[in-house]
């Protein structure tokens, strides 16, 4: 009797159903169920359950084994054959594996870099709900500018007026603070003022102290873990006092964990935003665009709708404003908001991804070429396998397996290569990447992906082509595998060299552009100009310092400025000028510079004169503009016109005060009594060290205890182009490697051809052919294909480079010699590679080649 209420353990049944399959209707599950109910009646539930479990587990193993036993046997055979093939042709295997390993290593390095770039600001728990308020300025002449600094009133007002905004945080970097602790003095740049909500919105966890109350004390300060170690060592930092700028005493109220390098916000000291007035910034204002504003939105709020609502928010409070607001996701800031200097750029990411693809493709082509070249030898094996009953699918999987083994060995090698080259790559790319497989799940996925894609691409040709051999033809010997596939191989070599030559062109153009930018006529002379940051009381003591410096024999010019010509973001003000159309609204860059500027930097005037000591009204109402500003304001005779409550006394020739990525913007120069932050000192070329020592001495006499922070202007200039330089270096390295890999493949292919034609060469030699003729014979074949790649690559490279160069406002012309050099260079290197093999083949004695005939 069957009893339906006796149900066996359901988990076991589920497992059984999952892992066994039989065609019959009354299958293994039903049988066991029946038997279970008998067992249940005779032996009771406990015994029956145990019995059932045992049955299920063993059935599953039996079933799995029965299904795959033959496969294991065959896999063992495939492995054996694969190892034998490697052993039989060690040279080819070496070229195959090492080429692929180098290619994969490059690919992994670049992918590591890319995944780091893409990971920016994604570690915040609320990353998808955090936005930064971005401003858009539209000028009357159609220019559009984007920036991300806002008035201090904006953040709280947004939170108050829009229910979608849960939290807002204002943020301002107060770089260049002097911090004193006991007798030690430090210069700190990562010093910011921020609302306490910053720590609520972003995932910057506290290590010590209370997140909620840490920033409620106006004289509290929170510091990073690294800073706490640097300042206080092992003592408890909480409650310690430090002094900022020689006047403000602050107490440490909290310590936060160090900011990860993949965060666009980088800070070590945070003071409450409310105390920002102490540092000279307004707190209640709708016109001072100096503060970054971040907002956190409620879940699933529609950003597009909110963007529409906040668009003209500032205009509602400040009629003269011309900015419109929008929100940008924090995760987009690093890659999609092009700020100069260290920030990333999505175009670079794409460029690198393309390079990674190129390198890997080149290595894969090598692999495919050498595999197909050697496939002739394996045709017999395939024929025999087919005769004894292998079907096509099995042969395909065998060849994919073969490549999988080789790619796996390459991957191990590549990982080793990456491990050893990572420190080098890190210095090159300015990153702190690490190859940590346990912590980096995406990296493991990337590696497995690389492995699979490589073996799929590299293994496809041999797998699909060889498996299509008809056994009778192969075994009768009428099918010559090598001959048929040579067209295919030539095509691949052509593709490979198209990639390589394109990359060489790119490298040459990029190098030229960098050279061009670093030696561009900037409109001022930046050589031997020392810049010194004015600190603390010094702003007031500037005249004294200037007078003292001026006396030194090595100093030929001196000027105080509000911003350096290499700093890229100037303060901008809404400008008024005589004859302005009331609809024209512009924010124009403003520079404060005293009388010495033109002399120190050797700038030239286009019209009028520069500020002069003899005319005292210059300080109160004189204004110098650049030529771009004159064009913008549309003035025919600018001298004497009123601008911003001042009068234009001169027009200075355009000079580059920003990166060469952008055109020269309009600039106003004023010369008020204070507001200066830097001194620029032009020093003579000889005795630099002595002059420098004297400057230092004067500084410490006037400002005891405060370190002099100085830098040469051209060093700063180079720093603007640091990320460009990095891209250049990385592209250089990888295009060289691509060329290397391509040549490695050509080398293998040439030696294969030479080997195949050993007899032909022997006979030619016997009949009296000269060495050079034989070398020419072998080289001609490959030369033809490299020439063809030149024909394709040169126009292709031209088109790509023209698009890439569009991002530079000032660029080199794409001169013809670059293309000739790239094409010719590739050709010569290819020729050398092939000739090396050809000479060796021609040098063998004909007797050795022919004695077995």
């Amino acid at each position: 009797m069957k009893n339906t209420s006796k149900i066996p353990p359901s988990l076991a049944t589920k497992l059984l159903k999952e892992f066994t399959s039989y065609d019959d209707e009354f299958n293994i599950v039903d049988t066991l169920q029946d038997l279970y109910s008998y067992k249940h009646e005779t032996d009771g539930k406990r015994k029956a359950d145990l019995w059932y479990w045992r049955q299920v587990l063993f059935s599953i193993t039996k079933n799995l084994y029965a299904r795959s036993a033959w496969r294991f046997v065959m896999i063992k055979n495939y492995l054996k054959i694969a190892v034998r093939n490697i052993k039989k042709a060690k040279g080819y295997a070496f070229i195959n594996i090492s080429g692929l390993a180098v290619g994969m290593a490059c690919c992994i390095l670049i992918l590591l870099w890319i995944s780091d770039e893409l990971s920016f600001d994604r570690f915040h728990e609320k990353a998808d709900r955090l936005y930064r308020v971005a401003d858009r300025e539209e000028y009357s002449n159609g220019d559009v500018l984007y920036f991300s600094t806002n008035p201090p009133n904006l953040g709280p007002a947004l939170k108050e007026n829009f229910p979608e905004v849960i939290n807002s945080a204002r943020y301002r970097n107060l770089r260049g603070r002097i911090i004193q602790l006991n007798d030690h003095v430090f210069n700190e740049d990562n010093f910011v003022a921020a609302d306490p909500s910053l720590f609520k919105m972003f995932s910057f966890p506290f290590v010590q102290g209370n997140v909620k109350s840490a920033l409620s004390d106006p004289y509290g300060i929170v510091i990073s873990e690294a800073t706490a170690r640097k300042y206080f060592g092992n003592t408890d930092p909480l409650g310690q006092n430090i002094q900022v700028d020689n006047r403000i005493d602050l107490q440490v109220t909290g310590v936060f964990g160090d900011i990860p390098s993949n965060s666009h916000l980088q800070f070590d000291f945070v003071i409450p935003f409310e105390s920002i007035e102490e540092y000279g910034y307004p707190l209640d204002n709708w016109g001072c665009y100096a503060f970054k504003t971040y907002v956190e939105l409620v879940d699933e709020s529609n950003v597009d709708v909110l963007n529409g609502k906040i668009r003209d928010f500032i205009k509602q409070h400040n009629e003269t404003a011309i900015v419109t607001l929008s929100l940008q996701p924090v995760t987009d800031i690093h890659l999609f908001c092009r700020a100069y200097g260290d920030a990333g750029d999505i175009r670079t990411v794409i460029l690198f991804a393309v390079i990674a693809g190129f390198v890997l493709l080149t290595a894969c082509i090598n692999f495919m070429n050498l595999s197909t070249a050697r496939s002739g030898g394996r045709a017999l094996e395939v024929g025999l396998r087919k005769v004894v009953g292998a079907n096509r699918r099995e042969i395909i999987s065998q060849f994919y397996g073969d490549t999988l083994i080789l790619t796996f060995i390459s991957l191990i090698l590549a990982l080793a290569l990456v491990h050893f080259s990572l420190p080098w790559f890190n210095t090159l790319a300015g990153k702190t990447l690490s190859l940590n497989l346990e912590q980096n799940a995406s990296l493991v996925l990337i590696l497995l992906g690389t492995l699979l894609i490589t073996s799929l691409v590299a293994g496809s040709y041999p797998a699909l082509f060889l498996s299509s051999f008809q056994p009778n033809k192969v075994l009768r010997g009428t099918l010559k595998a090598g001959a048929k596939s040579s067209t295919f191989r030539r095509t691949l070599v052509t593709v490979q060299f198209v990639l390589t030559i394109t990359m060489i062109i790119g490298t040459l153009v990029l190098n030229r552009q960098m050279h061009f930018m670093r030696h561009f006529k900037l409109g001022y002379n930046q050589d031997q100009v020392l810049t010194i940051g004015l600190k603390g009381d010094l702003e007031r003591n500037k005249e004294m310092l200037k007078a003292e410096f001026q006396k030194l024999p090595g100093v030929s010019g001196i000027s105080a400025v509000s911003d350096l010509p290499t700093r890229l973001s100037y303060s901008r003000i809404l400008s008024e000028w005589e004859g302005r159309d009331s609809d024209d609204k512009f924010l124009i860059n403003l520079l404060l510079a005293d009388h010495g500027l033109t002399h120190t930097l050797q700038m030239e005037m286009a019209e009028g004169r520069y500020f002069s000591h003899e005319i005292p009204t210059d300080t109160s109402e004189g204004i110098v503009v650049n030529e771009a500003a004159v064009r913008l304001m549309g003035m025919d005779s600018p001298l004497g016109k009123r601008v911003l409550g001042g009068r234009i006394i001169g027009v200075i020739k355009d000079f580059h005060f920003a990166s060469l990525h952008s055109k020269i913007e309009p600039l106003l120069i004023g010369c008020p009594k204070d507001g200066y932050r830097y001194l620029m000192v032009k020093i003579g070329a000889d005795n630099v060290a002595e002059t420098h020592r004297r400057l230092q001495k004067i500084w410490s006499r006037i400002n005891p205890g405060i370190p002099m922070e100085y830098e040469f202007l051209d060093e700063q200039f180079d720093r603007i182009y640091r990320s460009d330089l990095r891209v250049e270096k990385i592209v250089n390295a990888f295009s060289f490697l691509t060329l290397f890999i391509a040549c490695l493949g050509l080398f293998g292919l040439a030696s294969f051809t030479a080997e195949q034609r050993t007899k032909e060469i022997g006979i030619r030699r016997v009949l009296g052919a000269s060495m050079s003729r034989i070398v020419a014979l072998l080289a001609r074949e490959f030369t033809k294909w490299v020439l063809l790649s030149n024909l394709i690559a040169l126009p292709l490279g031209y088109l790509i480079m023209r698009r890439m160069m569009a991002s530079y406002a000032y660029k080199v012309s794409l001169s013809w010699w670059i293309f000739i050099a790239a094409g010719g260079g590739a050709l010569i290197i290819a020729l050398i590679t092939v000739s090396f093999q050809a000479i060796r083949a021609a040098n063998t004695r004909p007797v050795d080649a022919l004695q077995y005939e």
Binding site: F26, I28, T31, L35, Q55, S59, N63
Partner: protein, 106 residues
């Protein structure tokens, strides 16, 4: 020469003994009765499949059981009988050549 493994032999014998009522459940029980061995169902199904593949067994859909599913009845084919007889012949030939009482090792 058609040889059967011990498991195959047991399954075939059980089916022979069950005549018209040989399906998975009864075969399992019969083997348990015959040999006292609690056979793993997975093994039983694999063996049945192999024997059928070799042509020793015939399959026939039987009447539905309580759950509504039709059971699969097994029957030994002529080829199967031949294999059984050959196996028995081999067994008896070997055993006939053995002494009636086996000596135990030291």
């Amino acid at each position: 020469m058609k040889k059967l493994t011990v498991i195959e032999e047991a399954v075939m014998l059980a089916i022979y003994r069950l005549k018209d009522n040989a399906y998975s459940v009864t075969i399992h029980q019969e083997i348990l009765d015959m040999t006292g061995k609690d056979m793993i169902i997975g093994t039983l199904f694999n063996t049945l499949k192999q024997l059928h593949h070799k042509g020793y067994l015939l399959k026939k859909t039987g009447k539905p059981v309580k759950s509504g599913k039709s059971i699969m009845l097994y029957q030994i084919s002529n080829k199967g009988i031949e294999a059984l007889e050959q196996t028995r012949a081999m067994h008896s030939r070997i055993w006939d050549e053995m002494p009636k009482v086996l000596y135990r090792g030291g």
